[in-house]
Amino acid sequence: MRGNSLSAREARLAFWMLAPTFLIVFAIVIFPVLANLWIAFKPVTLGDLRPPTPVVRERIRASPEAPGDVLRVRYQMRNSSQRIPIENVVLEDVLPEGLEPLRLDERCRVEGRTLRCFLGTWSPGHRENLELEFTATEVYFAQGAPRPTESRPAIQGRAPNILTNLEFTLENFRRVLSGPEFWPAFWTTIVYTLFGTVGSILLGLFAAQLLNTRFMGKGMLRGLFLFPYVAPIIAVAFTWAFLLDPLSGTVNALGVRFGLLEAPINFLGQRSIELSVLGVTFTLPLALSMVILFEAWRYFPFAFLFILARLQAIPQDMYEAADVDGASPFQKFWYITLPQLVGILSTLFLLRFIWTFNKFDDIFLLTGGAAGTKTLTIRVYDEAFARADIGAGAAVAVVLFLILAGFMVVYFRYAPEGE
């Protein structure tokens, strides 16, 4: 009995300890993913995020000078949305004392000092001016002739929230998938992800080999090698952009000075470049290569750290045995080190592949997606925010997510056992 209640208590405690984490992760990760799916099937633009509201401005067209004069008020009103109607619009205003209605709109009524107008349904972009006339009495002047604009008119209406209604469409997907931009973005993403991942892992492997011996200053170098990874992306991306600038960039200037370049190259702004190596001419996607280089440079420390930790855990007696057998250094690397690293390398490949595939900041800050570097993540941003079509952006995000999930399935089915 007691054991039972103890374990129930424990489970309850665990629940409460995990609840806040669950809640916040659900709210910020799981919910948005589901919401994204929802939005992808809806025709939502950036403007729709502010629900449509009726807007009113009050103007006085004629002020009374003496009792018996006419006071004319104009209410300028409009529907803030160009796409969505507003139902049951009601205008409410408090009038100063001592005003007799002279000419009212048929939809308006005055009860006591309150003016109420029932304006019905407004079509999208509806504009309307309501001009009302009142006769000023002596009471009005006894008050010191207050201006009616001193009380702000209130206007209300009911508009459907486009995010919560049950209207769905496949239009977003049709547009996003059939447009001329989808496949280029897809292939750019694949090339960027694959080469960025492999590049950073190869560099990391090389760096880890360098530091896998004891020497003075090793700790400092290890710290130094991590710099690109821990520095804020915003700082290093801008630095690279300036370094590679065609006008006053240091890399171009150095290249020209030392005779490596004939003329400055717009590294981040030029789609492709003709290269001829040993008489063979081929076209290199320049900006994309630069972005990949950046990716390899920035994330090699991540691979480096993991590979170094793994290298140091390889038992030394394996190498001693190989020495006895007269193995050469490359043989030892190929037959001992690499097999020992397969686990960590495949794990790193998986992680870096996912993260590079999902990467947005780096390309956005370096090229903004120009010159053949438009990946799917950049497309999400372009659709949702640059073109203000949230629905289409969400649709690209769903596609992106599905492709990634597809990769994961394939990977887990065919990859070697990880660590």
Binding site: A11, F31, P232, I233, A235, G393
Partner: protein
């Protein structure tokens, strides 16, 4: 073991190693002279290769036993350096005017280094005949040298560039983009103009405070929730525990850009967009999985007996965590806390999408606002240095903790 003269292979090895070192060192020397002090230079690659080869041949020829005496290697190199200096009338590597430091000392030091590198590459190798093992060792040593130069320059150069261009006016930068020397002679006020402008005119003071606030609150929230969650996952039994601990890292699969669209929509409607609390909800969510994972790995290494003793003495679970577990976990807490701080400090996407009001900008968001045609690069680079320095200081200060934490947690990036 007596060595019977020098084999042909020995000559070739010495010459090739010397030539390659010569080319590499001279190129570095010329590049450094240009970048660090603005001398217009050239890289006389052919001459460097030949001179390096000669140094290498001599160093190889003077091997006694299995190594060359250090004095000989440095001496031969130094002599070659002196010859370079003298034959170029005091202006090697195309220097426009004689320069004691880059010309004279540069020559001597560069070729002494060539001699030393060659000696180092050839030491302990049996050069009597070309054996596969020897060739591979030589290749590996060359690769190592290339590797150190490659990583050393590619890692440090962008950061040096950032610092140097934050201290240079637009005119100086346009005049000669290869000159990245720091002109201390200008006087501090002019040198630091970019920083003063950015901090006061462009309100980076404010952004520093905002970033610090956001990052610190994120750390506190993440640590509190992370400790509770990780403790529950490690020590308590409850249904769904396995699933829970496995799915923690799955969160990593979700791209931030996928989260941004709906969060933007919902936060706009809730009025949370363009507020710091909005960011403070998002950041802990993105850092919690890492924190949970790292803390869980750490808690698993702590002996459960201590806690059980505490429980038997009548402490509640929460008291046990507070009095026993937490004091034992200070290193883990430090490393998680620092990581979370760095992630929150560096975060760009959400800050960029959510913040519109300049008073609320974090440093990342402020930097984007600074990136316009009208603002000189000097200011932008000064901003970059301001964003980077705190992270670097933290990083070097607590490197040990951080590296332990990073390998344990596999922090997202």
């Amino acid at each position: 073991m007596m060595q019977r003269g020098v084999s042909i292979f020995g000559w070739v090895a010495g010459g090739v190693v010397g030539a390659l070192s010569g080319g590499m060192v001279v190129a570095l020397w010329a590049l450094s002279a240009t970048i660090l002090s603005g001398h217009p230079t050239v890289i006389p690659l052919g001459a460097a290769l030949w001179s390096g080869a000669i140094v290498g041949l001599v160093v190889g020829a003077f091997r006694r036993g299995r190594t060359t005496p250090a004095a000989v290697a440095l001496g031969v190199g130094g002599l070659m350096g002196f010859a370079w200096w003298a034959l170029n009338s005091g202006r090697p590597i195309g220097l426009e005017r004689p320069d004691l430091f880059w010309g004279f000392f540069g020559s001597l030091a560069s070729f002494a280094l060539v001699g030393h590198l060659t000696r180092y590459a050839l030491r302990d190798l049996d050069l009597s005949q070309p054996r596969r093992d020897t060739v591979e060792h030589l290749l590996l040593r060359l690769l190592r040298a290339v590797g150190f130069v490659f990583f050393g320059t590619t890692v440090t150069f962008p950061f040096y560039f950032m610092l140097a261009s934050s201290l240079k006016s637009r005119a100086e930068m346009l005049l000669d983009p290869t000159n990245l020397s720091i002109q201390f002679s200008k006087g501090l006020p002019e040198l630091l103009e970019g920083y003063v402008e950015v901090l006061y005119t462009f309100n980076f003071w404010r952004y520093i405070l905002n970033s610090t606030f956001v990052a610190s609150v994120t750390v506190v929230v993440t640590l509190v929730l992370g400790v509770l969650g990780a403790y529950a996952v490690t020590r308590l039994r409850f249904p769904g525990k396995e699933l829970m601990s496995r799915s923690i890292l799955l969160i990593y699969m979700f791209p931030a850009i996928v989260l941004v669209v709906p969060l933007y929509a919902v936060f706009t409607q809730l009025g949370l967009r363009d507020t710091l609390p909005g960011l403070l909800i998002v950041y802990p969510a993105t850092t919690l999985p890492v924190a949970l994972y790292m803390l869980r790995s750490y808690f698993q290494t702590l002996p459960a007996e201590l806690e059980e003793a505490g429980l038997i003495d009548g402490c509640s679970r929460i008291e046990v965590i507070w009095r026993i577990t937490l004091p034992l976990s200070v290193p883990a807490l430090a490393s998680v806390g620092l990581y979370v701080f760095m992630i929150a400090w560096n975060e760009f996407l959400f800050a960029f999408m959510f913040l519109d009001t300049p008073e609320l900008f974090t440093l990342s968001r402020g930097m984007v606002a600074l990136n316009t045609q009208e603002v000189p690069r000097q200011f932008l680079m000064a901003g970059a240095v301001i964003v980077t320095v705190p992270v670097m200081v933290l990083f070097f200060w607590f490197e040990r903790y951080l590296i332990g934490g990073l390998t344990a947690g596999g922090v997202k990036g």
